[in-house]
């Protein structure tokens, strides 16, 4: 075989778009479904825009901050999470019920979906890659303390770890412990201490000192 030419027998002219196999398959499915009037292109664009840019863990952080600062709201959240979360306008499209799990000095809750990646989209957006990965899905149930340690969360031996497996109908949100020394913070400031991982249970709320590091005026 000659190495004199570098086109490897394939002519990369400017008129040759190469779409990946997956792109071709999605285009095929999408165009057929649009033709059959089962989906509308504008609606598809709206879904993507919403989940890419509008819904994210900040929704959940607002819910948690409210629960920390308003005992009546917290009571509603723990009794009927779907309704309490809907007070913010965050509602699921998939008809799932939300359950909020409260962490304490004695109990740490950890959320997983062992079969696929059921996740509370309305409050956390779409799941991170590791949540969708087999190692997390399997190990969170089998050895939760080891998984937590890898996320930097070390719990005392007297803390009970409870692992919750999400389903299509039931999604969980962890209510982390309110950080020490946060008594004087506003609800907005409290929200900044709530991370996505804290609401999955793979993290804790940030310490109050982390606020000053953000350089906010």
């Amino acid at each position: 075989m000659s190495h004199d030419n570098d086109d490897h027998g394939h002519d990369h002219r400017s008129s040759d778009n190469h779409w990946s196999e997956l792109t071709l398959r999605v285009k095929a499915l999408e165009s057929l479904l649009v033709e059959k009037k089962l989906v509308e292109p504008a609606a598809l664009d709206a879904f993507i825009d919403t989940y890419e840019t509008k819904i994210g863990p900040r929704n959940g952080a607002r819910v948690i901050a409210r629960a920390w600062s308003d005992p009546a709201y917290k009571a509603r959240l723990l009794t009927d999470a779907s309704a309490a979360i809907a007070e913010f306008g965050y509602t699921g499209r998939q008809g799932e019920d939300m359950v909020v799990l409260e962490n304490s000095a004695k109990v740490h809750n950890l959320v997983v979906c062992t079969l696929c990646s059921c996740y509370p989209w309305p409050v956390l957006g779409l799941p991170p890659v590791w949540y969708k990965a087999a190692p997390y899905r399997a190990r969170a149930v089998r050895e939760p303390r080891a998984v937590l340690a890898e996320f930097g969360v070390t719990l005392g031996g007297d803390v009970e770890v409870r692992v919750w497996d999400s389903t299509a109908e039931l999604r969980y949100l962890v209510l982390p412990e309110r950080p020490a020394g946060s008594e004087d913070l506003s609800e907005t400031e409290l929200g900044l201490l709530v991370t996505r991982d804290a609401m999955i249970g793979t993290g804790l709320a940030l310490p109050v000192a982390s606020l000053s590091k953000r350089g906010c005026p």
């Binding site: 400017s14 008129s15 040759d16 778009n17 190469h18 779409w19 990946s20 997956l22 792109t23 071709l24 398959r25 999605v26 285009k27 095929a28 499915l29 999408e30 165009s31 057929l32 479904l33 059959k36 089962l38 989906v39 509308e40 609606a43 598809l44 664009d45 879904f47 993507i48 989940y51 890419e52 994210g56 863990p57 499209r93 998939q94 008809g95 799932e96 079969l115 696929c116 990646s117 059921c118 957006g125 779409l126 991170p128 890659v129 590791w130 949540y131 969708k132 990965a133 087999a134 190692p135 997390y136 190990r139 998984v147 890898e150 996320f151 389903t167 299509a168 109908e169 996505r196 991982d197």
Partner: protein, 113 residues
Amino acid sequence: MDVDRLNLPSDGDGPVFKEPWEAEAFALALGLHERGLFTWTEWADALAEEIARAQGAGDPDQGDTYYQHWLAALERLVQAKGVVSETELTERRDAWERAAHSTPHGQPVILKP
């Protein structure tokens, strides 16, 4: 199973979709569900089945192939519902490939009837 393979996030949330096709496949499932073609439980079952199948076929399933499973589940579900046939999918895929190849860069790829 070591920490690196868990692919732990180092900070914020990053883009939720790696490539445009992932977002499109995601939106198609939402659209069909909203249209009532399947319940969300049916969808979760189909997706879980597809993930198990891929794992059985040797996919290390690190989360990066998640939307491939999503797309495969969607293709199977629409066929099971009798909405789109395998032949239609294959023929349409080939038509898009021809269209992409014959369209100059920078111009939208359009499927001619």
